[in-house]
């Protein structure tokens, strides 16, 4: 099957005031198939948001997509004109943002904004768009949609706003939805509802979702496949089960160990020693090497993609030794895994 989205060797560089090159995304390749959920995971500044913005070609003016291909439905998005790109944004690829309270324009009602999105991409009358907006609000579970349609963002709660945002993003039935930390600003009960809603709508529209998050709890719930990024590069990718069951990159292991857990007693949460390197001065070779317990002279060379098994790939010279130093024990699927030194 052809992938819906095929990103090949994507490179996005930013330039700071000293004209230094910041390789925010450096040679990232991945595929997204119709109807599946792919999670991009990593800590702040690892390039996951930049990757997603690059898919819509919305990189800030101080950054540039320097190389690579983004094939969406077999068209290279990087070769399209800005005008053609505008017809794809919002119609074929939509995005929902982290902060629903700032992503909605405060001077328009929620209805105005949904209607704008519909009229922008579909040749329908205002009346028709208005009715569709009501249907969309109903679909995302907003009670009394006729009334809510005429309310301004400040009159709605956080969860309600995020539902409105989703209604706006999905109003033209996109094939791919990019959700950039969609639940970070919401409280936990609302988080679960929003995630469930995205999942439901995804099945209903047979839509692919790229979920960007640093919250592995969300990933364990929703993702079909997981891509772990570190310092602008993919370090490990695989099916959800594989990543949780057999994490093969030292960074992935570090991430999993730093999740607070209820089933083991810990005085202090584990963390990965050191800090993310400055993007202007990434170490050559493996970018994780100065924080990695397995580092040796081999790591000066950028590791190749190695197949762990099936669809599970890792970029590390020492992945075979992982289990040698870290006793990884796992209980059943996904969420439940524990590591001991």
């Amino acid at each position: 099957m052809n992938p819906l989205l095929n990103v090949h060797n994507l490179q996005v560089y930013f330039y700071n005031d000293n004209k230094e090159e910041l390789k925010a995304v450096d040679g990232v390749s991945f595929q997204v198939y119709k109807g599946e959920t792919v999670a991009l995971v990593g800590e702040s500044g690892c390039g996951k948001s930049v990757t997603s913005l690059a898919l819509l070609r919305l990189i800030d003016s101080n950054g540039k997509i320097v190389g690579g291909e983004i094939l969406f439905d077999n068209t290279d998005l990087l070769s399209l004109s800005e005008k053609q790109m505008q017809t794809i944004r919002g119609k074929d690829i939509s995005m929902i943002f982290q902060e629903p309270s700032t992503a909605l324009n405060p001077v328009y009602t929620i209805g105005d904004q949904i209607i704008e999105a519909i009229i922008l991409h579909q040749k329908v009358s205002y009346r028709e768009a208005h009715n569709r907006a009501i249907d969309m609000l109903k679909l995302v579970g907003i009670p009394d949609p006729e009334k809510r349609l005429n309310e301004y963002p400040h009159e709605l709660s956080g969860g309600m706003k995020q539902r409105g945002m989703i209604a706006m993003a999905l109003s033209c039935h996109p094939q791919l939805l990019i959700a950039d930390e969609p639940t970070t600003s919401l409280d936990v009960t609302i988080q679960a509802q929003i995630l469930e809603l995205i999942g439901d709508l995804q099945r209903q529209f047979n839509m692919a979702v790229i979920l960007i998050t640093h919250d592995l709890g969300i990933v364990a719930d929703m993702a079909d496949r997981i891509i772990v990024m570190y310092a602008g590069k993919i370090v490990e990718e695989g099916k959800r089960y594989d990543i949780f069951k057999k994490p093969s990159h030292p960074y992935t292991i570090g991430l999993l160990r730093s999740i607070p857990r209820l089933d083991i007693e810990q005085e202090k949460l584990d963390s990965i020693p050191g800090i993310v390197p400055d993007p202007a001065h990434f170490p050559n070779g493996c970018r994780f090497r100065n924080r990695c317990p397995l580092e040796d002279e081999k790591c000066i060379i950028q590791p190749e993609k190695s197949q762990v098994d099936g669809d599970h790939y890792v970029y590390c010279h020492h992945w075979t030794q992982i289990e040698g130093i870290k006793d990884v024990t796992l209980q059943n699927e996904g969420q439940q895994c524990s590591f001991k030194n």
Binding site: G90, K91, Q98, A103, N105, Y108
Partner: protein
């Protein structure tokens, strides 16, 4: 009615200073509309020219015939009444055109940034570097006298203030996530500026415009007073003051002898400026979210 609109109306009309501002403004509007009835012009004459009522060049104090007195052979009452129309013309035309130019230049500079911003802002700086009154004075002298020349001069040197203001606001607003969200929906740049950025940034400009409306009238009066503004005999508060130039210090031991020459046009001007400032304050109170309680 929507609660938001109700709140705006309430704020507008239940606040002493905005009531004063709006009633003063209303009074001036009524005066300018009914000028032909309050001070009927002579038939066949340009009503904006103050008719000559006496051949003596000495000022005459208020009398039943000339309630505000006579200055420079002309009726002050007539000049004050028809001068209201001139004041509105100057204020509205200059403010509207300079605000539009400023909005355009400021939004282009702020939204596109980089090189365009640099060029436009340096041009703005050059215009700002020249003192406004001096610049307007020189330009009016070059263009020749006449009210239209005054308007041109004041517009040419007046667009920088709204341009700067809107640029700053746009720089702030364009980083907002809803602009990114609109882009992600495929909205065109022009519509992003018009629909998403400007409505969030325009209110300070409108408030500034209403405040400037009053002060522009003072500047126009200053130009007329200096003799480069409206032509001889044109109904204009500044021109009336110009007539009083030689009499201002009074005479024969009475400093306030010719008080009526300055007081009536002066009071008209003060009230006009005051009304616009109070209206501007009222607009700010209603639209500036930081002042909401």
């Amino acid at each position: 009615m929507r609660s938001e609109n109700r709140r705006i109306i309430k704020k507008f009309f239940f606040n002493t200073s905005s009531i004063i501002g709006f009633s003063l403004l209303g009074m001036f509007i009524i005066i300018s509309i009914f000028a032909p009835w309050i001070a009927p012009p002579k038939e066949g004459k340009n009503p904006y020219m103050m008719p000559i009522v006496t051949w003596s060049s000495n000022p005459q104090p208020p009398s039943p015939e000339h309630p505000f007195g006579v200055a420079g052979k002309r009726d002050i009452f007539y000049g004050v009444i028809w001068g209201t129309r001139t004041a509105f013309q100057v204020g509205i035309i200059v403010t509207a055109i300079s605000t539009l130019i400023g909005l355009f230049i400021g939004s282009v500079a702020g939204y596109y940034g980089k090189f365009i911003d640099e060029v436009l802002m340096r041009i703005t700086d050059v215009f700002l570097a020249i003192p406004f009154l001096v610049a307007a004075l020189v330009l009016t002298t070059i263009l020749g006298s006449g009210l239209d020349k005054v308007l041109i001069a004041m517009t040419v040197f007046g667009w920088m203030y709204p341009a700067r203001l809107i640029r700053g606001n746009i720089l702030q607003a364009k980083e907002e996530q809803y602009v990114m969200a609109a882009k992600a929906l495929g909205v065109r740049n022009l519509f992003i500026i018009l629909r998403h950025v400007l409505p969030n940034t325009i209110f300070p400009v409108l408030i500034q415009a209403s405040m400037r409306m009053g002060s522009l009238v003072i500047t126009a009066a200053a130009l007329s007073f200096l003799g480069v503004g409206s032509p001889q005999g044109y109904s204009d508060w500044g021109a009336l003051l110009n007539y009083s130039r030689n009499w201002m210090l009074g005479g024969q031991g009475e400093a306030l002898r010719y008080w009526y020459m300055t007081v009536f046009p002066g009071v008209a001007m003060i009230l006009f400026v005051l009304s616009w400032n109070l209206v501007g304050d009222a607009l700010r109170d209603v639209f500036d979210p930081r002042l909401r309680v």
